[in-house]
């Protein structure tokens, strides 16, 4: 039996070793099947000004899903072409999403701490904000990372094309290069990784430089005196935090009854409490019904619970009501790909579309629209193309809101368990009992475990507090590995750190947490 297991492992190693040879064979086969000489010459004779190329794998979209897929394809020995809209790979995440927003949130946190330091006996003068320099620093971070990706592409011999792609059929793309010129690109396999874009509020379209979305908001054109954030999701709260820390009076309007709809309320609570202090106002159960531009700003009409002043004027308005998949790719109708009602490309567990040679990953292939999910999908799709039996089958995709405090969760949430009427045990460890949290003067956090009462297995983890985004990784591993509460409780965590709270929460489950006394139920 043991011998058998060993054999299985060595077989897998062999598989990996054979990877390159195998994909070479695949390349030969692809050439035979997809690019017959006569067709290529036919294409040439039709339009002599166009060049015609071929690639084994083309990845359309160069975000974290796309470049991860392209790089893995190259590592497995494929000839890869990567198409992106910018000078270097990076996508929304690096150019106008995760990375620049985190750079700015770092600044926001620092600004906040300088104020909080007064409580600790350190008093700073009012900060002087040099907006150009701040913007420049943020941009340097973006340039460094995207430039790095450009270098990595070259090192891997991935052909990076800045331009736009359109399908001509199920095995050919037309590329419109940004530098000028067009080309036809025949491909063995394609991966669509075109991502998503900010959604607009239906019926409220207004063309104005005062209306920001996440992209223009991150450009920091100026520091407005007042800002209305439409939508209390993670993008609105993160950017709202940035602007508030720079001195803007921020108002958030959220249609539902709470911030971060879908997240567990006990995790959101510490954040709402803090945001109430940082923001001018948070209007829940409230809707924007009209926007008109005036000399001094945008006039807003409100409706609902928060509409005490049914009309207000804001210097700027940030629309952050979600994102829409970029599935309106030219020529998609010339393939067998199907798009569902929400605009997502339909894929199977291998991320293969209804057109067998074309795969789709990331935001365009479905929720949750998160960079790390796209990366994992991209790698899965490439492995599937390379002939491995793989599937996109995560047990937990972590979600992180980089506000202050951060909120992070993975796996099953309490909200979801309640909605599905599933019996779960919840173990909560309040950070008021954490030594590390005390040294940070932050006792508002909480770490909680969602546990299967039958097996004591960790089904989900939720954390609110500074650094929650880093801490959640342990939770993801616990869920993926099917860890039991005992496993977390018996794993020594370093002291004094916030990571201890994960172990402590597991101890709470057993009623024996060192740092927390819970009276026994009689």
């Amino acid at each position: 039996m043991v011998q058998f297991a060993v054999a299985a492992v060595s077989d897998r190693r062999k598989l990996l070793k054979n990877e390159i040879r195998r994909s070479e064979t695949a390349a030969t086969a692809a050439k035979m099947h997809h690019y017959p000489k006569d067709r290529r010459s036919e294409a040439k004779s039709r339009n002599m000004s166009e060049t015609s190329n071929s690639t084994e794998l083309v990845v359309i979209g160069a975000g974290p899903g796309g470049y991860a897929a392209a790089f893995l394809g190259a590592d497995l020995g494929m000839k890869v072409t990567l198409i992106g809209t910018d000078k270097n790979p990076g996508g929304v995440c690096l150019y106008c999403g995760c990375i620049p927003s985190k750079a700015l949130l770092h600044v926001a946190k620092l600004l906040h701490e300088t104020k909080q330091a007064a409580d600790w006996g350190i008093r700073f003068a009012e900060p002087k904000i040099e907006l150009d320099k701040l913007r420049g620093w943020k941009q340097s971070v973006v340039n460094k990372l995207t430039g790095g990706l450009g270098t990595l592409s070259k090192q891997r011999s991935v052909r990076y094309v800045q331009g736009k792609a359109a399908f001509l059929d199920s095995q050919t793309l037309n590329l419109q290069r940004s530098e000028g010129g067009e080309e036809k690109l025949a491909f063995g396999h394609a991966i669509i990784a075109t991502g998503s874009r900010p959604a607009k509020v239906p019926g409220l379209s207004l063309e104005s430089s005062r209306i920001l979305d996440s992209t223009s908001g991150l450009d920091l054109p100026d520091i407005p005196k007042t800002l209305l954030v439409i939508g209390g999701g993670y993008i609105g709260l993160e950017l709202g935090t940035v602007y508030a820390s720079l001195g803007t009076k921020v108002t958030v309007v959220e249609m539902t009854g709470g911030l971060l709809p879908g997240a567990d309320r006990d995790l959101v609570l510490p954040l709402s409490k803090r945001l109430e202090k940082i923001f001018d106002s948070i209007l829940l159960n409230t809707k924007v019904t009209a926007m008109t531009e005036e000399a001094k700003g945008i006039r807003i009409k409100l409706e609902g619970e928060g509409a005490k002043n049914p009309e207000m004027v804001f210097e700027k308005v940030l629309v952050s009501v979600g994102r829409k998949p970029n599935s309106d790719i030219p020529g998609l109708d010339k393939t067998g790909i199907r798009v569902n009602a929400k605009g997502f490309i339909q894929v199977n567990p291998q991320r293969q579309t209804d057109d067998s040679k074309i795969y789709a990953i990331g935001d365009v292939a479905g929720e949750p629209m998160l960079a790390h999910k796209a990366t994992h999908e991209g790698r899965t799709a490439v492995e599937a193309i390379a002939g491995h039996k793989v599937a996109f089958e995560p047990r937990a995709i972590p979600a992180v809101v980089f506000t202050d405090p951060e909120i992070a969760w993975c796996g099953l949430t309490e909200t979801q368990a309640q909605a599905e009427n599933r019996k779960v045990a919840i173990a909560r460890f309040p950070w008021a009992a954490s030594g590390r949290a005390a040294t940070l003067d932050r006792n508002d956090g909480v770490t909680k475990l969602v546990i299967d009462p039958a097996t004591e297995r960790i089904l989900g983890v939720g954390i609110a507090g500074p650094g929650a985004g880093e801490l959640i990784a342990e939770g993801v591993l616990a869920v993926e590995m099917a860890a039991l509460a005992t496993d977390l409780a018996l794993t020594i965590h370093p002291h004094p750190t916030l990571s201890e709270t994960v172990m402590n929460a597991a101890e709470i489950f057993f009623g024996t947490a060192t740092d927390f006394y819970r009276p026994k139920k009689v």
């Binding site: 039996m1 043991v2 058998f4 793989v390 599937a391 089958e393 599905e420 097996t455 089904l459 099917a482």
Partner: protein
């Protein structure tokens, strides 16, 4: 119209068997329920009856061949009369619904999206009546249909990525293990996890894969050090282990390895019982049975189990739970020329001793004639094994997992018994109770065995206390 007969579902976890004997030949006219083949599976040898009637056109299997569930056995030409449930199902399912395998069935259900294909078990009405197991007919003609197995088939289902959950909880396996399973073509949902909380390890997957390949249910088999070369000391002969022998070996190893066994010995005075058996023996014979000590013991044990319910329980170590059973089916070990078989007598507590005698005689005869159905060997809560017919003064039977106790009976003999100041010759029956010490304490075992001994000594105690 030609009608096919394929190997039907043979029971849980049984995918194949050795075809011991073909009981019919081409040209024979067969009736519904007529036995056509004899199959030896891991659990028993069973006669598989035909679900169809007609003249046999072709036989597609050979004796000695290993056959799989779903394999074509023979085709019948003629009236094509199929077993009743088949007709019923076909009438309700409409044409073109192939529901023979779970895989196809699922696909079809998705495609058709119709709800009336779902409750197949409910629709099927009574299961086909036969000596052993459900059978099914596969008419060849296009548009014709067939029954579906009452029990869902274990045919390999293409692992679906997003549905790897059991009752909403995802299968407890690490990403590396899930990937390995996928590479080996194993549906990780079917793998038994040996780790805490049922966690599935890479080894569990490898064992499962191996069990699929070899058809052995593996794990606690007979892993032993390599054997010496016996021929150094004299001539030897090697014989293949029969499926029943191998299955018995695995089952008993598993029981021996997982149950901390203790055996409690006692003795009961059956002098009076012997007289009663003589007195009422003819009554039992009139009912088609034999009034044996075992049939009386069945009744006694059934009553004892009501007083001591933990002796009919099972241990669920994974859940840290004890499973108490509200039914009273008792297994009786039967010695056959093919090995040990344990038919189970149903609802012993609701039958009188005469009924039990006749049922036991029938089951024992069936076991010896290879006619025992798999269902007739399942569901026991306790086992009785009587070696008294052969001899012996005591032995230590192995508990029949997942049961927790087994009562062994040896040969009764006349012994001097000291009563009222003098020795009297009494017929004494030795009893040996092996039990699972995880669940049963020594004192309880002694009490249980004393209760049984006293009830056998004085059968009137049964209606009095039982």
């Amino acid at each position: 119209m030609a009608t096919e007969f394929r190997i039907p579902e043979l029971g849980e976890n049984i995918k194949s068997g050795d075809l011991v004997k073909i009981l019919v030949k081409v040209g024979d006219s067969i009736e519904v329920d007529q036995p056509v083949i004899e199959l030896e599976t891991d659990k028993a040898t069973v006669e598989v009856p035909s679900p169809v009637s007609g003249v046999i056109q072709q036989i597609n299997v050979k004796e000695g061949e290993r056959v799989n569930v779903g394999q074509l056995v023979l085709t019948v030409n003629g009236a094509g009369e199929t077993a009743k449930p088949a007709e019923k199902a076909s009438a309700e399912q409409g044409p073109g619904k192939d529901a023979s395998f779970a895989k196809k069935e699922t696909a079809k259900q998705e495609a058709a999206g119709s709800e009336d294909t779902r409750p197949l078990e409910a629709k099927q009405g009574e299961a086909p009546r036969m000596t052993s197991i459900q059978a099914q007919a596969h008419p060849v003609a296009a548009g014709a249909t067939e029954t579906s197995p009452a029990r869902p088939s274990r045919a390999p289902v293409e692992p679906e990525a997003d549905s790897e959950t059991e009752g909403g909880v995802p299968v407890p396996a690490a990403p590396s293990v899930r990937r390995m399973a996928r590479e080996l073509g194993v549906d990780v949902r079917q793998v038994h996890g040996s780790g805490p909380g049922g966690r599935i390890s890479a080894e569990d997957v490898a064992l499962f894969a191996k069990s699929i390949i070899t058809g052995v249910s593996g794990r606690l088999g007979m892993a032993s050090p390599p054997l010496p070369d016996f021929s150094r000391w004299g001539a030897v002969e090697r014989h293949k282990m029969s499926n029943i022998r191998r299955s018995t070996a695995e089952h008993l190893s598993r029981a021996w390895n997982s149950i901390p066994h203790v055996t409690q010995h006692d003795e009961t005075d059956v002098t009076h019982l012997k007289e009663l058996r003589k007195q009422f023996g003819s009554l039992a014979e009139a009912c088609g049975g034999k009034l044996t000590v075992t049939s009386v013991a069945l009744k006694v044990v059934a009553s004892a189990l009501r007083v001591f319910p933990q002796f009919a329980a099972s241990v669920d170590p994974a859940a840290n739970e004890v499973v108490y059973k509200k039914y009273c089916h008792i297994g009786v070990a039967v010695d056959t020329d093919r090995g040990l078989l344990v038919p189970v007598v149903r609802d012993v507590d609701r039958k009188n001793i005469l009924q039990l005698s006749s049922e036991l005689s029938k089951l024992a005869a069936k076991a010896r004639d290879k006619k025992l159905a798999l269902e007739e060997m399942e569901g026991g809560v306790f086992t009785i094994t009587n070696l008294g017919g052969i001899g012996g003064t005591a032995f230590t039977p192995i508990v029949n997992l997942p049961e927790v106790a087994i009562l062994g009976m040896s040969r009764a003999s006349i012994k001097p018994s000291y009563r009222d100041g003098k020795f009297e010759p009494r017929l004494m029956l030795p009893l040996s109770l092996s039990y699972d010490h995880r669940l049963i304490d020594g004192a309880d075992a002694a009490r249980f065995l004393r209760w049984v001994a006293e009830a056998l000594e004085q059968p009137f105690l049964l209606p009095l206390q039982g």
